[in-house]
Amino acid sequence: MTTLTFSVNNKKQNIEIEAGEMLSDVLRYRLGLTGTKISCNESECGVCTVLVEGEPVLSCNYPALKAAGKHITTIEGLAKAEELHPLQEGFIKHGAVQCGFCTPGQIMTATALLDEKPNPTDKDIEYALNDTLCRCGTYPAIVNAIHAAADKINQDKPIEFPKYEFGGDLDVVGQVVARPEAQDKVTGKAVYTDDISFPGMLFGATLRAGIPHGRVKKLDISKAIKLAGVQSVLTAADIPGRVNHGLIIQDWPALIAVGEKARYVGDAVAIVAADTQEIARNALDLIEVEYEGLPIVTNPVDAKGDNAPRVHEEGNLLKHIKVDKGDINQGFKEAEVIFEDTYYTPSYEHAFMEPECSIARPLDDGQIEVYVGSQIPYADRDQVAAALDLPLEKVRVRGPLIGGGFGGKEDIVGQIHAALLAQVTGKPVKILYDRQESLLVHPKRHATQIKVKLGLKNDGTLTAAQTELYGDTGAYASLGAKVMGRATTHSTGPYIVPNVKIDCYAMYTNNPPSGAFRGFGALQAAFAIECLMDQVAEELKIDPIELRRKNALRKGAITNTGQHLTESVGLLECIEKTHQAMLTYTDGRDPFISREVEGEPNKRRSWGFAVTFKNTGLGEGAPDNASAEIELLPDGKVETRISSAEIGQGLVTVLQMVTAQELSLPLEQVKVYLSDTDLTPDGGPTTGSRQTYISGNAARFAAVTLKNTMLSTLAEKFNLPPEEIELKNGFAHANGNKISFAEVGELMREEGRDPKLVYDYKSPKTTPLGEAGDKHFAYSFAAQAIEVEVNLDTGEVRVVRAVGATDVGRAINPLGLQGQVEGGLIMGIGHALTEEFIVENGEIFTDTLSRYRMPSIKHLPDDIKVIIVEDPTTEGPYGGKGVGEISTMPVPPAIVNAIYNACGVRFNQIPIDQDWLALQLDKTPLNHEN
């Protein structure tokens, strides 16, 4: 140990540390200043930024002893007393806070910028924040927030909320409000799982197979268990209950037993609990494992071959999914032209800024508490209980804040391991993944190969669509069958097609598992169909927008699964509004011709267009329900409780707004408590863009039921019909009396009425593929236009402008909605231009964030226009439906189509390889110059 003397947030510190500790470790774990987050541990993401003598540095890669004698400022030191720093206020009001995990790093970096440049330009902001990443994609809001803060500092100009053209005129729903947890997120008080610690807590580590396919022949933990500080080493043999986990099919072993197979490099073989993380990791090196290597299969098409190595004994086919509508042969006979092409999308990584962390804590009564940022707390509870062979009530899953999910926090990763170690040692155990382990272990986006064949009349009317899809679900099922199911039903686009035949094969391979990821298969499908639609338009000499408009799903249309769409089909309106907005940028000229950039003859610009749709909710026959508890508290506040995840999308805000709206309460009178399986009923998985609709409805009807109970209480008391009593501005008005909520609650208690109730919301019934009936209870629609600039010399591509319209049914939380659409756009730009999760022969090449590059602020288009279409769905809360996923989906094909329009090179795969593009350009005449 050595002494470190320095000052943090103007307070002198004199502490004993290990010489090898980084500044972030000392701040977080020695001083308890957990506002500084650690995300990548490799100087890539900027999340850990603090100021040393006023200059921003990356604290996770800054030896603590280097800071000796220096003054450090962290996010906790920014606000003066109770008054927020203008940047903190700006971030809240402009919606620059979503999951909040990168927020401290963004604000600290921006603080240094404003100190140096009090009036920064957009370029200054881009240069300063270039390496401070936000996976929620709040960059547009960050730019606005910094400008607003600068104006407040320099001109004393108050920071206002932005104004939007959507949202309607209800008191609360549809109004621009701050997210309730934003204040904690901008001040560093927000608690994520790794910010929690318990006395006597142990640290866990996991031994990974490191080979893509092999049978464990021998496993010897004897040396590891003897290492000083090691408390427990467990293998599969020590699991008291069910070894396998899995959300639908339990095919994924929590630990690989001797005699069993590792099926991908990230499979777990043994787990260790030790006094420190370092000892736990050192112990892993002492575990001896021998494998019998097995042949591997790494591509879903190969995996379907008769002689392919078998990943699972039952074979490599997870599911063959089929759709048949009309008569496909007749449809192609009726066609005057037929087009066919094959498209490829790679695997992608969620790269949520908060790596996975689980803490399990045994309680005196035998219950095990698991703290984890999970998208499906009840599924975690059930799976942990099964592995530990405990009754369900003996496991309690509690959800701290979550630093991003995007579908990547639905499966089990460290939850069972931490619980097993806690059960055996009787002590709390924390398992925190570093970025590399996170990249290695959790399920990714399915890589796909999608063949699309379209038959049309010469006027562009679709007569037939046949598609064949292969999806790489990796080593384990996860949600693979569901994901590829969604790819299947979305593969003919949001179009009216009388004759459809689809075959989709979800295949096991020895790659990392694939599971849920924003867009959920439908993103891959949208890429294929929307690229081919542009090719068709060109061949038929029809405007690409006109071709889509002609075939677009509309009210009264029948989908490829036979669903009759009777309402809330805003696609034509999305197309129209996007088209019109795009034309304002081109002065009414054809946006799809190639234009030379003024003064830069080597650069060409053009627009590209794509449309898409996405189901809201689970659908296809899966029961899709949520229960919400609501309680009128003694102080007159109301609390809504539900196990649904806030992963940055703004669910807490939505639940708070919905409750406040129904009870006519001021927002601050409504509390929301999420994700505690002992205290909050099940809201179901946070997936499928379903939470605003399903949990939103559960909260809304819970509030309505509470209101009715309150009204009947008052009706009896004042001897009035309930309809003559009104709730307004936080009070009940009856017979000229103004009664506070606290008083109403007291009345209810006196009368023996419980001011607490649970509402079980059941969404409209859907049916499985192949059966009659609706597959989904709602769909959202979107149109996206994107202008790109292609450097003809280097092949570099940049998104210049993005204009898009999304039909969300109803804008409930406009600030959050704007953030979801902008963030989805940024992620779509990443998928098209920067990201690719590369696995070679089962080994992960993109094993660090420096190799897996998510979009940064420099990928922000010069101009973004978000248009919201509100075509309500009857059953949705206030007409609302999902938006979380759709915003990403049309972006990659719109970019690919724009590139073709700009330079004549057509891509059938993403991401865009500028190398290939540049070399292709040498062979491609520029045929449509302007």
């Binding site: 200059e55 921003p56 030896p63 300063a128 924040l129 570099e796 500028q914």
Partner: protein, 292 residues
């Protein structure tokens, strides 16, 4: 996870050598640590017992001009490089190169000496220093030797001096004369490793007619070590920069570099496509500046 056991902070070069000489176990010199600590963490560099942080040594932090030379301390950070008026005047290519590295957090700690000592074939700081005919000062317990920077590189990540016993303390290069200027440019790939696909720097001295009196060009990765395009320089010297000369120069440089395909980064063909473009960009830019 402890990457090292002891962290020493000498304040003079002599103290640094004491630290290195007295080291028990493995030792490494660290400045900003932006590369070294990652290399240790990710297993590309063995764990070390002791780190000797030289960033606090004042004589390694100088940026000064004497009659003929700019002296640049090895511990000068990228931030200091890009904001320093002397360097903005006399070493435009270095300012440009260092300004493209990382974000402000990295530039605040990463040093120019670290960039050079890391010896990557395409280090932006290194490539830009090379065209200034930079000399490097390397100190050992025996004293200080001064040698051309280009001579210290022996391969990717490899240098002639012993990193555990010797220390890059600084650089010097000639101050900018009349009709002289430099420029730097690079092309990156949006996916994958954040190292330039190709970078290039040029320095020119114009004659009184605006022709090329003297030229220096460096680029990377154009071989196992940072590369000076001497044949192209020789050809260009005495020429006037017109299209014919440009075409000829591109042929010569294409032959003297050794470009190759790096998986997930760039193909050889693409690098050959970029090379003449980058050559034009930096020479155009340097010539424009030299005319001012």
């Amino acid at each position: 996870m402890s990457l090292f056991q002891e962290y020493l902070k000498p304040v003079t070069v002599e103290e640094a050598f004491d630290c290195l000489a007295n080291a028990s176990g493995s030792v490494a010199v660290i400045a900003g640590g932006t590369d070294l600590l990652l290399d240790i963490r990710q297993g590309r560099h063995a764990r070390v017992d002791q780190l000797v942080d030289v960033s606090g040594i004042s004589e390694m932090q100088e940026i000064t001009l004497d009659d003929d030379y700019i002296h640049l301390g090895a511990a000068v950070t990228h931030k200091q490089v890009i904001t320093n008026p002397l360097l903005q005047e006399h070493a435009q290519c270095v300012v440009e190169g260092c300004g493209l590295i990382g974000g402000p957090q990295v530039r605040n700690v990463a040093t120019i000496g670290g960039n050079v000592a890391h010896a990557l074939p395409a280090g932006d700081g290194t490539i830009s220093l090379l065209v200034l005919d930079t000399e490097v000062r390397i100190a050992s317990s025996e004293g200080i030797k001064c040698q051309p920077l280009i001579e210290i590189f022996t391969g990717p990540g490899k240098v002639t001096f012993d990193r555990e016993k010797e220390l890059v303390v600084g650089f010097r290069f000639a101050k900018k004369g009349p009709k002289e200027a430099s420029a730097f440019h690079r092309v990156m790939r949006p996916q994958g490793v954040a190292i330039a696909i190709l970078n290039i720097a040029a320095w020119v001295k114009l004659d009184k007619n605006g022709g090329l009196d003297n030229v220096r060009i460096s680029c990377g990765p154009a071989g196992p070590k940072p590369f000076r395009a001497l044949k192209t320089e020789a050809y260009l010297t005495g020429k006037s920069w017109d299209n014919t000369v440009y075409q000829k120069a591109t042929n010569i440089i294409a032959q003297e570099v050794s470009l190759r395909t790096s998986p997930h980064r760039a193909t050889k063909e693409y690098r050959h496509k970029l090379l003449p473009q980058l050559l034009k960009i930096v020479l155009d830019s340097a010539i424009e500046r030299a005319k001012l």
